[in-house]
Symmetry: C2
Subunit: 374 residues, 2 copies
């Protein structure tokens, strides 16, 4: 009665491009399902290196290393949309790369991403591209002020951004973002920031986690709450948008869609802010607050395993530990019900995501550890 | 405002003796707290090897390998009580080994363990030692039949056991357990099997998880349920026993105490069956059903970090996937709310623990993924 387990087996190895905390948490989720992982990342001592079977420390352009990496793995994914699209394309000729590298090409360019979104009839804030400084005045005139000037490529956590208020000097803003092809986006007086983390399998089935409400400090996510305090209509609209985008990409894996809830006459509507073609900080609550996490859903999707129908355990609050916040970890360790995640980064630089904490408020707190009559 | 994180830092490396699923899940829990791990295990391809920074594939008696292992780590623990006590003692001269190797010496010997338990005034089933075949008849006479003959050392999951019913041939039973020093234990007509998984920190603080109810098939744990369906008085007694034993060992880490609930006149009482000086299968439900798992509590304890006060998320059922059970993993993958753990073992031998599934029944099922009005 013994036999080899699985058709495509536990000997399957998942290749992950990028070795930060997202790669680390993907690898930990893969391990829970019995998979092995191999992480490729240029940075020495990357957090994900500590939790996988094999590591390649190499540049994304090192084709010999990429070849060896592809030989060792069965399927390849990435933790981060700033992995060069050329790397993903090079690898895709050797092994399946999921989500498809075409998705990277679009989401690495804010202008292409916005064009893609509106081409589907989904609303965004008004925007206009500015390839050179000469285009900037026209773009700002079209969008209005206040606005935000953002580089088209390689921006995250507020990097490569400048605010344009009435009277602000355009030339200074252009220099501030590094004088490179950019996009001007209208500043939106939103009521809430929300996100939907959705998983889509190769056969097209989609599972969304509950809509999450997000609070940013200094352009960096600080707190997420699930479920978001929005009407059922807004939540349904947000989910439909995420599903629409995932279908349009023919997406395989987890993607996150950041949205604004704005007042719209007597009601509310939803504008898409940004698409992240990957697991997302606003989905970290699923690690502890749901029966299956965003990381596991991603691994299931790219492995061709069925997606889970996750159950949320209660109302969840996720707090990021950013930079020096992490020195408060001892306080968090002793708060009843708090689950602490630390990413194994040795240096706490300002703005660096060092860990996070999840708190789940269960409907009737059964207060483990105390069976005595209350 | 940048700085090095932690006093005894994320560069701390935890050494784990044993590379099975318990070592693997300990390593995954350590990773969540930012620690690195190094696993030493004699078996090629051990499940824990895939999720740690460093691996030593060496015999427990290989002193050169043990020396190098000790040099690389900051603290050492073990996944399993059958790690040779001499190995733990050898290492303890080099780095802290927790729980203390003295605990191994006692719990590796069923007779010494039982003597230790009763010396604390804690009840067990009647038992008697039989060092040679010549002692067996006397031991059986003292204990009565039915009884169970068990080897004093290296038994688990029903290995090295023989049942002694009235009329059974003692010589055959003696041969069946390998003709080695043994113990005869009275067979107990219990109402329930329960266990307490307790964590004790170096300063003596103890945190017990909820009392768990266990169901064995063919001597192997099949299902655990938390909380156990016992009276508050029984639960409190079970917890006090676990705390008493942990204190008596001056224990650091997680230990599990398996107990029988037996009818006692009009009431019930609790007998200790066995102590496991380690994380335990009956505590696997804590991975998904509580804010902090038994594995994390163990890592916290041996690292000198504060223990958590875990909160249970609901009523939890844990089902082991044993041998061929694992081929049913696809069914489990799609059950709403089920969390599947597979241990990455490539061969499904009969009786081999291949994975487990957790199901958490939350008080009011918030049914994630569906924000639409119900």
């Amino acid at each position: 009665m013994s036999g080899t387990f699985f058709r495509s087996g536990p000997d399957a190895t998942i290749g992950i491009l990028g070795g930060g905390q997202l790669g680390r948490m993907l690898a930990l989720a893969a391990a829970r399902l019995g998979f092995k992982c191999h992480v490729l990342c240029p940075e020495r001592g990357s957090p994900a290196f500590d939790v996988v079977r094999r590591v390649t420390e190499a540049d994304y352009g090192d084709k010999a290393a990429l070849d060896r990496f592809a030989d060792d793995v069965d399927v390849i994914t990435y933790e981060f949309e700033n992995v060069p699209a050329e790397t993903a394309t090079f690898l895709a000729a050797r092994k399946p790369v999921l989500p498809d590298p075409r998705v990277l090409a679009i989401t690495q360019d804010r202008l292409a991403e916005k064009d893609f979104i509106v081409s589907l009839g989904i609303a965004t804030a008004p925007y206009a591209g500015a390839d050179g400084e000469g285009d900037l005045a026209k773009a700002v005139a079209a969008v209005g002020r206040p606005a935000v000037l953002k580089t088209r490529r390689f921006g995250y956590d507020g990097k490569g951004q400048a605010t344009l208020r009435p009277g602000d000097d355009l030339a200074a803003a252009w220099r501030a973002v590094g004088a490179q092809p950019s996009i001007v986006e209208a500043f939106i007086p939103f009521e809430r920031e929300i996100s939907v983390v959705a998983a889509r399998g190769p056969e097209g089935r989609i599972e969304c986690f509950d809509v999450t409400e997000n609070e940013h400090h200094d352009h960096i996510l600080k707190i997420s709450r699930a479920p978001a305090d929005v009407t059922p209509a807004v939540a349904a609209q947000a989910r439909r948008i995420a599903e629409r985008l995932a279908d349009a990409f023919d997406y395989v894996g987890v993607l996150a869609v950041e949205m604004f809830v704005v007042r719209d006459g007597a009601g509310q509507s939803v504008l898409v802010n940004e698409i992240a073609p990957r697991v997302h900080n606003s989905g970290h609550w699923t690690l502890d607050g749901a029966s299956v996490s965003q990381f596991e859903q991603h691994i299931r999707a790219i492995s061709g395993w069925p997606l889970a129908n996750p159950v949320r355990y209660g109302e969840v609050v996720m707090t990021n530990l950013i930079g020096d916040d992490v020195f408060g970890y001892e306080k968090w360790l002793t708060i009843p019900g708090a689950t602490v995640h630390l990413y194994g980064k040795s240096e706490a630089r300002p703005g660096r995501k060092m860990g996070h904490v999840t708190e789940v408020q269960v409907a009737t707190s059964p207060s483990s550890g105390h069976d005595d009559p209350a």
